[in-house]
Amino acid sequence: MSRPAHRRPEYHKINKDLFVLTYGALVAQLCKDYEKDEDVNKYLDKMGYGIGTRLVEDFLARSCVRRCHSYSEIIDIIAQVAFKMYLGITPSVTCNNSSRTEFSLILDKNPLVEFVEELPAGRSSLCYCNLLSGIIRGALEMVHLAADVTFLQDTLKGDRVTEIGITFLKKLDEKKYRRKK
């Protein structure tokens, strides 16, 4: 990638807006194409999955993450490095079970919904940010980790925060797990 020209602060914002606005146009288009919310959600997840499988390489190339030895470390990296890198926010992390396979990422501020006031009429089950769950799932799968990713709380549905639940499905096997180069 060529070296970026010197950017004024407002243009930096435009660049951030570009992704959010494009995403909004995509969701709007999918709502036109599909009548059922579940279909839109599924499609967003599928697209996110496709993006995640490629994004993980981009992420590993830009960051210098160490090899992880536990699910908690992985979740911390997702929250503190990946989210910060791509979306400019750092969600907080909670662990939801004693066996430390279920976690939540709590987003006080969700940049994806910056320009969205409320869900469109008749779209109450739309999971607007479902692309994110697909991205996380796809990225984890590329490093040989199977996980379920769902939105447990959604500000567009009246919750106070956005909460993404990540449940690792297989026991982390140290011998099998290798950081993808």
């Binding site: 990638m1 060529s2 970026p4 020209a5 950017r7 407002e10 243009y11 930096h12 914002k13 435009i14 660049n15 951030k16 807006d17 570009l18 992704f19 606005l21 494009t22 995403y23 146009a25 995509l26 709007a28 288009q29 194409d33 499609y43 599928k46 697209m47 496709g50 993006i51 490629r54 994004l55 981009d58 830009r62 890198m85 791509y86 979306l87 400019g88 320009f115 692309l131």
Partner: protein, 228 residues
Amino acid sequence: MADAALFEFLHTEMVAELWAHHSDPGPGGAAPASHLGPATFSLRRAAPPCIHCPGISDVPSLGLQHSGSSGHPKEIRASRLPSGHTISTCRHVDRHQGQKMSLSVLEGMGFRVGQALGERLPQETLAFREELDVLKFLCKDLWVAVFQKQMDSLRTNHQGTYVLQDNSFPLLIRMAAGLQYLEEAPKFLAFTCGLLRGALSTLGIKSLVTASVASLPTCKFQVVIQKT
């Protein structure tokens, strides 16, 4: 830059998925079809602009050439992509209707985003004295904001037609340089054509934006101002 990366990944996925979605006869994962023969893609569209590749009509006083595309048919053929290519989900169709819809869908999305971006520009940029200033602004400031680089050249016939050339367009840069993916290139330009048209619209200019590619990653955007 990381913040540009997300947009590029999303755009790539949109090109792959919207294309497949609007072209597939039905739901479900069909295996990619083999080469189905030429699918003529014609570009008759009344109001919104059309995207055609690779040749654009010569604007005489601009002295442009077809850049090696003479003899290349003005069609987009559905063809098999080599495996391992980043666009693994592209499907292969010979449905004329499906292809037409996909490019216009992408262009329409780009238009809405371009309009919204235009509204977010710093206020002082909105007071342009002439049309040429607006185009220069697109080539420099908008392009830098969106693609982290300036447009490489801007030419005009001073009669409302402008050709903007980018020698290493970021949305084409991940594909092999040269002619290998010439036929796929228009799909990657449709959104940006709409983006330009939308930004111009917010700046008070009605236009028709088309794109052409002679050899990746160089592409040209032709902006024709519509006089009302």
